[in-house]
């Protein structure tokens, strides 16, 4: 599936929820299901510090695709991290760079991406794109 196909699936999944509680319970479950990041990557080098919650993000590039693993100390943030991983992990640098993330807005989680970087999510998206740019440059050398 393409990035946009996955985004549309997520939007579809979320449209089923009428109650905000269901939506957050789903996010919490997603957070719980997120594959654990290798503890050796849960260190300062991979930390994206937010004022409220922390996010760890680790990239691995096999020459074609980047695989991201990530984690957060807050469960709701972890749930959104899980969604971002679903959409952006195992993609080529080109795919990531040209992606346009519209699903967060559409599933009503915009407030979780405030520019004050309170939970580290916005910085996480920037960091994913930065890694993609770096690997793109590397692969063209």
């Amino acid at each position: 599936m393409t990035i946009n196909e996955i985004q549309d699936t997520i939007i579809d999944d979320f449209s089923a929820f009428e109650d905000w509680m269901d939506k957050y319970n789903f996010l919490i479950d997603l957070g719980k299901e997120l594959p654990l990041i290798d503890p050796k990557f849960r260190i300062k080098d991979y930390l994206i510090e937010g004022c409220q919650s922390k996010v760890w993000l680790h990239p691995e590039y096999n020459g074609q695709k980047i695989t991201f693993t990530a984690d957060s100390d807050a469960l709701i943030t972890r749930g959104i991290v899980a969604l971002l991983i679903k959409v952006l992990s195992d993609r080529t640098p080109d795919e990531i760079i040209s992606s346009n993330l519209y699903f967060i807005d559409r599933i009503g989680l915009r407030q979780n991406l405030s520019p004050t970087r309170s939970n580290g999510l916005l910085s996480m998206i920037r960091q994913i794109k930065l890694y993609a740019l770096a690997y793109q440059v590397k692969s063209k050398k």
Partner: protein, 405 residues
């Protein structure tokens, strides 16, 4: 005294809904809501006599200047300062502390000197002193606290020395609510002729502040935390000290005579009020103080004590809830953690239920470090809150625990 329904009716915002639910506003430590009289006063300034103060020869400027000076007198009377000239308007507590840190630092601080603060301080009463210490080669010393969140007075006495040039402490902790025995700190400091700044951001609205009885040298607070407009604050300073300090900003209205060779400064309080002041904010603050006086500070204090007691009982009864800061002298703040649930998660879910709390470090990271935690959930109450709202918070917390365990 007005009953609670009448009090709540004075604050239009309190009757609004969020996400279709009745708002429960427990973030008063961050900012308070405004009574209709304050909103009306600020409106009236702009609608009927807006004009720059202390400058015009015309009628409107006279009215605006007069109202602004009346507001200064209201502040003086509210905190019982000796003279109106000792009341300087600023942008807020942060602005006030930065002003003192700069002016006092320029005048009195030399390499090797020391400033004492406490472990309970808000970043606004830490960073300006660090910046000053860096500029002047001085050193910051910190009074430690115990597990209950109370400062260790004996340790404070040990820190006092001939090198100490200023003591700057909060009167009440914004993060965990502890009321600090500032009177003792001032007496001990004054015995060594060391001036004391009191950060009143969290105390002026929760008690009766009397700077003359307290005998502090500086007292600072924000208007927006005492039901007034944002962007206005107060720096009280003892006259002898203020006269001795250089201004921290240059500009219009703070000067006596300006030539390119030399400028002489205006007298107090204008020496510290450069540029166009937030006169609408100051006048609005005056109206907020009138409102507080009309309710009665003893009444506010009594109500808030009752609410704090009720909230503490109610929340402590919840299994898995741990209150951070257990001093028996607290303002109406309950800071807590739920099992191992992240404060951010808790805050997000409470928000969805219409309950406004603050989560995180509350701009007091050293307090969090002291307890080895990343942050707390803070419910900061004030006299317009109700026991029913505390019950709603209790139910909300139970729901959060159920969702995350």
């Amino acid at each position: 005294m007005k009953d609670i329904a009448e009090i709540r009716a004075d604050f239009p915002l309190l009757s609004r809904n969020v996400y279709g639910k009745k708002l429960v506003y427990f973030d008063n430590g961050a900012t308070t809501q405004k009574p209709q009289c304050v909103i009306d006063t600020v409106n009236e300034v702009y609608k009927t006599y807006n004009s720059n103060i202390h400058r015009g020869v015309h009628a409107l400027s006279d009215i605006a200047s007069e109202e602004y000076e009346k507001a200064r007198e209201k502040v003086r009377s509210f905190i019982n300062a000796g003279r109106k000239e000792e009341i300087i308007f600023t942008s807020g507590t942060t602005g006030s502390i930065n002003a003192v840190a700069f002016s006092f630092g320029e005048r009195f601080i030399k390499p090797g000197d020391e400033i004492i603060i406490s472990h309970l301080e808000h970043h606004a009463n830490i960073v300006p002193w660090q910046m000053m210490c860096e500029r002047k080669g001085a050193r910051l010393r910190v009074i430690p606290i115990n597990d209950s969140g109370e400062i260790l007075y004996d340790e404070f006495l040990k820190l006092l020395s001939g090198r100490t040039k200023l003591v700057a402490v909060t009167q009440a902790s914004n993060a965990i609510g502890t009321i600090v025995p500032v009177r003792d700190i001032i007496t001990a400091s004054h015995s060594l002729k060391i001036p004391v700044l009191i950060d009143g951001a969290q105390s002026v609205q929760h008690g009766i502040v009397d700077v003359t009885a307290m005998d502090c040298d500086f007292f600072v607070f924000s208007g927006h935390k005492i039901y007034g407009p944002t962007g206005i604050g107060v720096m009280y300073g003892r006259e002898e000290l203020l006269s001795d300090l250089p201004p921290y900003q240059g500009g219009g209205d703070m000067v006596e005579k300006v030539t390119f060779e030399k400028t002489t400064y205006n007298e107090l309080p204008f020496k510290f009020e450069a540029g166009t002041m937030n006169f609408a904010g100051a006048i609005g603050l005056g109206s907020a103080l009138d409102y507080v006086m009309s309710i009665g500070r003893e009444n506010i204090l009594a109500r808030e004590r009752e609410l704090l007691h009720y909230a503490t009982e109610k929340l402590s009864a919840i299994k898995g809830l741990r209150i951070i800061g257990s001093s028996d002298k607290k303002i109406s703040i309950v800071s807590f953690l739920l099992n191992n649930i992240h404060p951010y998660d808790t805050g997000m879910i409470l928000d969805k239920m219409g309950i406004a709390v603050r989560t995180g470090t509350h701009c007091a990271q050293p307090v969090m470090d002291r307890y080895g935690i990343d942050g707390t959930i803070r419910a900061s109450l004030c006299f317009y809150n109700t026991k029913e709202e505390i019950d709603i918070l209790g139910t909300g917390i139970e729901k959060v625990i159920a969702m995350f365990t």
